[in-house]
Amino acid sequence: MLFVELIAQGLIQGSIYALIALGLTLVYGLLRILHVAHAAFFTLGGYIGVMVANQTGSLAAAIVAAMIIAGIGGILVFRLCYQPILHQPPFVPLIASIGLYIAAEELFRIIFGPSGLSYKYAFLQDQVVLFGFLRFKLAEIAVMLGSAVIIGVLSLLQTRTRIGVACQATVSDPQMAESFGISLQKVGDINFFVGSALAAFAGVMVSVLNNMVEPTMGSVPSYKALAIIVLGGLGSVRGTLAAALVLGVVESFGTIYLGHYLDRNAIAFAFLILVLMWRPQGLFART
């Protein structure tokens, strides 16, 4: 019973990781840059979510607003911050991204105050009992179902629509994609929009789960998502999903049974290092 509960909790955590890491993987696949500042959109999503929900009383409106605003923000970051330095060696965008993230975190603190915000209304706080013994918050179910649906729809769009196929082609070989009339800029826009919107969705859901947004809420996801996309084989969407869920479950058990030896972050990274030493291309990468 405990075993099942731990798995379930791991999957909840894993689906949050997946939502954040997917955006990162889309960006990495396309541009080969580690977009650390991605986590800022997770935080931004949380803040917009709380503010819109407190104004309108509607969580749906909050989610939509957060996703759209974060998506547009993502496009701006792509065009203004990354596009001009894409031809530089990889550490340049990496450090730029880190700088951007630190600045963003500080902006959140200065604008919204250091102690964070909470929801005025209780959204999805009711309890649900499944199979007689698995007890969840409605928000936890919503996170799992929401991410499953969103990711499912996305992968359908990616394989079934021309734009989706164009994006995949661009990730596979950007130059050739251009040679068939696909504009890198447009694909970049789409990837950043989608990725940032996903992160924002995760941000809203996490803020509902914790009933709190704070300026630093993105810092753990930011580096954990990096670990996940590496495990997933950098740029592989399916690998990222699997890695996120696996990491969620490993952490779930780890906090209980290894908590006295290593903290949660260290567990995640110990796992990461072991895997990389064993399979340097990542856990789920095709070789």
């Binding site: 909840i12 603190r109 105050g113 250091p114 102690s115 964070g116 706080q125 789960l209 709190m212 809420m217």
Partner: protein
Amino acid sequence: MNHKKLAVAVTAALAMQFGVPAWAEVKIGINVPLTGFAAADGKSALDGAKLAVADANAKGGINGEKIELVIYDDQASPKEAAPAATKLIEKDKVVAGVSGSYSASTRAAAPLFQAAKVPYVVAYSIHPDVTLAGNYVFRTATMGEVQGRAGAKLSSTLGKKNVVLITLKNDFGQALAAGYKEAAPKFGVKIINEYEYGIRDRQFGALISKVKSDNPELIYASGYYFTAGPLVNQLRAAGITVPVIGQEGYDSEKFIEIAGAASEGTLVTTSLDRDSDSPVTQAFLKEFRAATNAGADMVAASTFTATSIAIEGLKKTGGKGGEALRKAIETGTFSTPIGKLTFNDLHEVNKDVQVQIVKGKAFHRHSVISDPVLLAPPTKAK
């Protein structure tokens, strides 16, 4: 008015006579984390300190001289705190220092104040090493171990035997757990399991599943409001209804806001009693709300207290720092929002522990633990 002006003029004339810089303000230095992960507490602390200074200045300052608060951000990091302390002492020549920061930064700063013989009043950092730096360092907070012992006593008062500890993995949480574990056997309290979590953790699902299977009668969980809020909320959502005891880290309106309805009934061992009939406490609570439009929390109250103690001491010495001020604080008794305080020979504070309970979305008095033996802070001998 005229009296005051005259007094000022006379003081000034006298000061010129003796070649003392005439309009020198009395400077008190404070290090607080205004940026970085502890920024929220830093803001509260600074608000508390500013209020104490404003209060004192409104009442005429020290011998008519205005008090100036010199503020440095230490990001709660020892690396930033050390230069900040040196600068306060060297450049700003403060007569007294106040720590409105966490243990790591305070521990880095304390030896510097000690070496310069500038009294340093520490508000809410709870690490034992702080006062070991020397006899110029004072602490107004109840040490972690002491609070932990109070928690164990409270558990037995509630008639609970089987307890699960959920410990925040930093110096604050570990000190609390150590105190709790030390005192638990004395009160017949059994610790059936202990879990640890990191200060960045907000999701406790896995941990809570395990706690549920332990089936405890009470949960003693250390944390700050930003970890405790989600923790208590998630405990309740998982259907765990046993009492939760927290500590002064919970002591913020933000805790109630974040945990929502789940916060009801949470017990907190702290130093601020909202229902106290002490006029000092009530005045502080009122003024703080007026000044910041927010309710005071433990951090604000403690930093207000620490700053006030420095000011009270300075009033006694007539603005002189150094050894005179040290002695004044050492021997004084202070009426503060967190009760009447005196310091022991290690400059730890002697005071009762307040137990507050969340009722109707606010902290209210539950009980007071006053057990001088149990709550005795460490002394020099120890």
